[in-house]
């Protein structure tokens, strides 16, 4: 298991206590099951986590543009947020830094977007769903402890694409 995956905070819903039997009859340990589940539903996860680590370690203050230094706390909040993404068979989201040490996690399907923004030293995250004309459909703030509303938000976004 890579270091990145070892540090990956899979949410409680993805943790299996009992070993799981694969279709070939092989028994997986619960630890391995977590990794397999992440890699099954989110094959983009390792590279995104690598990108996140890169932003965390290489971000710098650029006078005239902005301060792009990402704190460990901010990066960890994004990791927690990614747990919600990894369970729903979503396309790869994108990470983008913004001035002041913030990070945006962007999920784009078609021309529609769901963006979560994480700010340094803030517990709540801002979300924004936009339509194909970049008009806001839904926005607000949530904390990462509000697991159900975050999952519902992502599910609703996916559902809106299917209609």
């Amino acid at each position: 298991m890579s270091t990145l995956l070892a540090n990956w905070p899979c949410s409680a819903a993805s943790i299996k206590v009992q070993p799981q039997r694969t279709t070939s009859g092989e028994v997986r340990s619960s630890q391995l099951e977590r990794v397999v589940r992440c890699s099954d539903s989110a094959p983009w996860l390792p590279s995104l986590l690598f990108h996140l680590k890169l932003l965390e370690t290489s971000g710098r203050n650029v006078p005239g543009i902005g301060d792009f230094r990402i704190t460990e706390t901010t990066a960890n909040q994004v990791r927690r947020l990614l747990a919600f993404f990894s369970e729903q068979n979503l396309p790869a989201p994108r990470l983008a830094p913004f001035s002041g040490g913030g990070l945006a996690l962007i999920l784009e399907i078609g021309d529609q977007e769901l963006t979560f923004t994480v700010y340094p030293n803030q517990n709540d995250i801002v979300y924004l769903q936009t339509d194909e004309n970049d008009e806001p459909v839904n926005d607000g703030t949530l904390t990462l402890d509000q697991t159900r509303p975050i999952s519902d938000l992502i599910t609703a976004f996916l559902f809106s694409q299917a209609r």
Partner: protein, 143 residues
């Protein structure tokens, strides 16, 4: 400390925002190539700009080679929809800046504002018809 509006900066002034290399700082949404909302998000509520002058664009292209630069009228930042103020910030210029340090400014809300509200106003700046990207000769083609 809340930002103070500088009345010596006229509404007709053009402000330049140097864009990060991240592709998500620009977009084609709405049918035109323009900076995205992320270019105007700021965790502390103070976005850096440079006031236009005859030497400013070449200077920014010298300091930030290959970077695209957005152009935003002061009137957009101060509009009723956005409601930001513009304050000079000469002590935060980039190293080796060769123009007037007083031409470096920050724009943001004059009063405390939620991040949600700040983002809404930042989006209004990004989507305004007068907010454009000045293409650098060495910049890669837009997506």
């Amino acid at each position: 400390m809340p930002l103070q509006n500088d009345p010596t900066i006229p509404d007709e002034a053009i402000l330049y925002r140097v864009l990060d290399d991240n592709p998500d700082w620009r977009t084609n949404k709405g049918g035109r190539y323009r900076p995205s909302k992320l270019a105007f998000y700021e965790a502390r509520g103070e976005v850096s700009y440079f006031l236009n002058s005859p030497d400013m664009l070449p200077e920014l292209q010298r300091l930030f080679p290959g970077r695209e630069i957005a152009s935003v009228p002061a009137s957009v930042l101060r509009s009723a929809e956005v409601g930001f103020v513009i304050q000079r910030r000469p002590d935060e210029v980039p190293p080796d800046f060769r123009c007037d340090p007083a031409s470096h400014v920050v724009a943001g809300p004059p009063v405390e504002m939620t991040r949600l509200e700040f983002e809404r106003r930042a989006r209004a700046i990004a989507k305004h018809q007068f907010t454009t990207i000045i293409r650098s000769p060495s910049a890669p083609a837009g997506k």
